[in-house]
C-alpha cells in the first residue's frame, strides 16, 4: 500500500515536471516561437483566445514569470488547454478527444497482442534452448527490433497496400464512403484500415518482449527451485509455467514500463506513414501547422497515458509478487 502511494507520488511529481517543461520550453527558445505563431494567426482569434494563449506562452504580458507560471498551472488543472489554432475555434480538448480513440484502439490492442505473443515465444524459446527455434528466433528479432518503425510501416504499405492491394494503406476508414457509426460495415472498415498499422506496430515491438522474456527465463531456469521442481518429478509443463515463467515475468513487467516510451514513438511514426487519424498523426500535424496549444495538449496527454500505464504495470508486479505484497 505504501509502495503504491510512493509510486503515485513519483508519478505526480513527474507530471508536474512535464507541465513545467511545457511551460518553460517555448520561453527558453531563442526568439519566442509563440510570437511567430501568434502573429500568423492574428486576426483570426477571439480576444479570449488570444488572452489564453498569452498566458500559455508568456507573450505580451507584464506579469512576472512566477505569476505566469501559476496562471498556467491553474489553467491546465481546470482542464483548459486552450484553443486549437489549426482547428479554430475548437478547443484543444475536443480536438484531442476525436483522435484519442483511434490511437487507443490501435496501440492498445497491438501492444497487448505483442506483449502476450512475445512473452509466450520468449518462454518457449528459453525452454527449448539449443533447438532450432531458439537459434532462429533471438537473432531474427534482435535485428527486427533495430529496424526503424517507419521503415517497416513503409514496406508494409508498399507490399500489402499498394502492390497487392490486400489492405488500405491510408487513413482510419474510407472517409468518402462511410461515416462513423455503430454499424457492422463501419467496424469492418475500421479493422481493415487498422490491420497494416497494427501489424507494423506488432512486428517492431514484439522483439523486445521475446528477448527480455527469453533472457529472464534463462536466468530463472538456472535457479535452484527449478532444479528442485525437476527433482520432485513435476511434469515439464508445470515447471515451465508455474515455477519458471511465473518468476521470470516479474522483471519483465518492469521492462514493459521502460519500453512504453518506444511503443509511443513507434505509434507516432506509424500513424504518420499511414495517415492514421490518431493522436500521433495529430501531433505531427500540429507541429507542421505551428498549432502550439494543440501540440502541448497532446504532449501532456501522451505523458499522462504513459505514466498511467507504468503505474498499472508497477501495481501488477507488486500484486503478482508475494514478497512485496505482504507487509514486512
Amino acid at each position: 500500500m505504501i509502495y503504491a502511494l510512493r509510486r503515485l507520488g513519483f508519478f505526480l511529481f513527474t507530471l508536474w515536471i512535464a507541465l513545467t517543461l511545457n511551460f518553460f520550453l517555448p520561453r527558453l527558445m531563442p526568439g519566442n516561437p509563440a510570437l511567430a505563431m501568434m502573429s500568423k494567426f492574428h486576426g483570426e482569434l477571439s480576444p479570449k483566445a488570444v488572452n489564453a494563449l498569452e498566458i500559455l506562452f508568456g507573450v505580451n504580458t507584464k506579469e512576472s514569470l512566477l505569476s505566469q507560471y501559476f496562471g498556467y498551472l491553474h489553467q491546465i488543472l481546470t482542464g483548459n488547454f486552450g484553443t486549437s489554432l489549426s482547428q479554430y475555434p475548437a478547443s484543444v480538448s475536443s480536438v484531442i478527444g476525436s483522435a484519442i480513440w483511434w490511437t487507443f484502439g490501435l496501440v492498445g490492442i497491438a501492444t497487448i497482442l505483442a506483449f502476450a505473443l512475445g512473452t509466450f515465444l520468449g518462454i518457449v524459446s528459453a525452454w527449448r534452448r539449443g533447438s532450432k527455434l531458439d537459434s532462429v528466433v533471438p537473432p531474427t528479432f534482435v535485428i527486427v527490433s533495430a529496424v526503424p518503425y517507419f521503415w517497416v510501416a513503409m514496406v508494409l504499405v508498399l507490399i500489402f497496400g499498394l502492390t497487392l492491394h490486400w489492405f488500405p494503406s491510408q487513413g482510419g476508414y474510407y472517409v468518402t464512403t462511410d461515416s462513423p457509426g455503430l454499424n457492422f460495415i463501419f467496424f469492418q472498415d475500421v479493422i481493415n484500415h487498422a490491420f497494416l498499422p497494427a501489424a507494423a506496430l506488432l512486428i517492431t515491438t514484439i522483439g523486445t518482449w521475446i528477448l527480455t522474456m527469453r533472457n529472464t527465463m534463462i536466468t530463472t531456469l538456472a535457479e535452484d527451485y527449478v532444479r528442485m521442481a525437476r527433482a520432485k518429478g513435476l511434469p515439464s509443463r508445470r515447471i515451465m509455467f508455474d515455477y519458471a515463467a511465473r518468476n521470470a515475468i516479474l522483471p519483465n513487467l518492469t521492462g514493459f514500463a521502460m519500453s512504453l516510451g518506444f511503443v509511443v514513438s513507434g505509434a507516432i511514426l506509424i500513424e504518420y506513414v499511414f495517415n492514421y487519424p490518431g493522436v500521433g498523426f495529430m501531433l505531427l500535424q500540429a507541429v507542421s501547422s505551428e498549432d502550439y496549444p494543440l501540440m502541448q495538449g497532446l504532449f501532456l496527454l501522451i505523458t499522462v497515458a504513459v505514466l498511467f500505464a507504468i503505474l498499472v504495470a508497477d501495481v501488477l508486479t507488486a500484486l503478482l509478487d508475494p514478497r512485496t505484497r505482504t507487509a514486512r
Binding site: 516561437p33 533471438p138 533495430a146 529496424v147 517507419f150 536466468t219 538456472a222 507542421s288
Partner: protein, 321 residues
C-alpha cells in the same frame, strides 16, 4: 561457525578474478568479438559503413546535391539506385549521407554514455542525498516519453540542424544507461579488490576512476552501442518527419523528401525504401554487436551444446550444471 574441512582457505574453483585494467578489458572484448559469429558480422558491417563515411568519393561518383540528371530514372549501372524526383542520384545521396548519420551516432553515443557514467557512478559512490537527487532526476527522465519530448523541442526550435539534434538527443537519452551503470557500480562497491584499495588508503576518486570504471568496461561499451543505435533511430525519425534540417545530406532527410513527394505512391519506391533499409542494416550491426555483448557478459546466455541423452527432452535444458 562450522569448521572448514581444510585449515587453509581454499581458492574458488572457477576463476572469478575481477576484470583487470582497461587495456586488458578491451583486449578481451576484441578477442570475444572475433570468436562470436554474431559480433563479427556486426563489426564488419559497422566497419564498412565507417569506411564509406570517411571516403564517400571513392564509391559514389556523383555529387549528392547536384540535380543534373533527368528525374525518376530507374536502376542502372550509371545510377545504382536511380534518380529521385529532383534528378539527384540517389546512390550518391545515401553514400554521402552516411557521414552525417555516423557522426550523430558516435557523438551522441559517446556523450550520452559519458554523462551516464558520470551520473550513475557518482550516485553509487556518493550515496545519501546526492544519490537520491540524482536518482529522482534519472527516474523522471526515464519515464517521460522521449520521442514526443524531442518533437516538442525540435518544433520550438523550428527544425534542428545536426548540432541541435545531437544536443537534444544527448540531453534526454542518458537515463537508462545511468541506471544500469549505477546498479553495477553499487554491486561493485563491496567487492574484495575494492576493499583492498580502500584499506591501502587510496582516495575515493582514485578508486572510482582506476578500479571501478575499468571493471565496468563491457557494460559501458554495450551501452555505447545501444545509445548510438537509438541516436540513429531518433535522429533519422526526426529528420523524416521534417524536424531536421532538410538541406543536410543524410538518410533521414532523404526519407523526408521521399515522403514529401509521396514516393511510395508515385512509383518511386526505392527513394523511400533504400534509406530506411540502410538505417535498418546499421541498426542491425549495432544490435548484433550488443547481443553478442550480452552473451559475453552473461555466460548463462551463451549457446548451449545439446546433450546426448537418448531420446530425452531434458527439462529446461538451459540450466547450468
Amino acid at each position: 561457525m562450522a569448521m572448514p574441512v581444510s585449515g587453509v582457505p581454499t581458492e574458488t574453483p572457477v576463476s572469478q578474478a575481477p576484470e583487470l585494467g582497461s587495456a586488458r578489458a578491451f583486449g578481451r572484448i576484441g578477442r570475444a568479438v572475433r570468436l562470436n559469429r554474431k559480433a563479427t558480422i556486426g563489426a564488419v558491417i559497422l566497419g564498412i559503413f565507417i569506411l564509406i563515411a570517411l571516403f564517400p568519393f571513392v564509391i559514389a561518383h556523383d555529387s549528392p546535391t547536384q540535380d543534373a540528371y533527368p528525374a525518376q530514372l530507374g536502376i542502372s549501372t550509371a545510377h545504382l539506385l536511380g534518380t529521385n524526383h529532383y534528378g539527384q542520384d540517389l546512390f550518391a545521396q545515401l553514400v554521402y549521407g552516411t557521414r552525417n548519420v555516423l557522426i550523430i551516432a558516435f557523438t551522441v553515443g559517446l556523450a550520452t554514455t559519458g554523462i551516464a557514467v558520470l551520473i550513475g557512478v557518482a550516485g553509487a559512490y556518493l550515496g545519501g542525498t546526492w544519490d537520491n537527487s540524482l536518482n529522482v532526476v534519472t527516474d523522471v527522465l526515464l519515464v517521460i516519453p522521449l520521442f514526443p519530448l524531442l518533437i516538442v523541442i525540435a518544433a520550438y526550435a523550428h527544425g534542428g540542424t545536426t548540432p541541435v539534434l545531437i544536443l537534444a538527443i544527448t540531453l534526454t537519452s542518458w537515463s537508462y544507461t545511468a541506471r544500469q551503470l549505477r546498479s553495477q557500480a553499487l554491486t561493485l562497491r563491496n567487492r574484495d579488490f575494492l576493499e583492498a584499495a580502500r584499506v591501502r588508503g587510496e582516495r575515493r576518486l582514485y578508486i572510482i576512476v582506476v578500479e571501478v570504471i575499468p571493471t565496468m568496461t563491457s557494460l559501458i561499451v554495450a551501452s555505447f552501442l545501444t545509445n548510438a543505435l537509438y541516436a540513429v533511430l531518433f535522429a533519422s525519425s526526426l529528420q523524416f518527419i521534417g524536424l531536421g534540417d532538410p538541406n543536410t545530406v543524410s538518410w533521414g532527410t532523404t526519407l523526408y523528401w521521399a515522403q514529401n513527394n509521396a514516393a511510395l505512391q508515385t512509383g518511386e519506391p526505392l527513394w523511400a525504401i533504400a534509406p530506411g533499409a540502410l538505417i535498418a542494416i546499421l541498426g542491425a550491426a549495432f544490435a548484433l554487436l550488443n547481443y553478442a555483448f550480452d552473451e559475453i557478459g552473461n555466460p548463462a546466455l551463451r549457446p548451449v551444446r545439446k546433450t546426448r541423452k537418448k531420446g530425452a527432452q531434458p527439462v529446461g535444458r538451459g540450466q547450468r550444471g
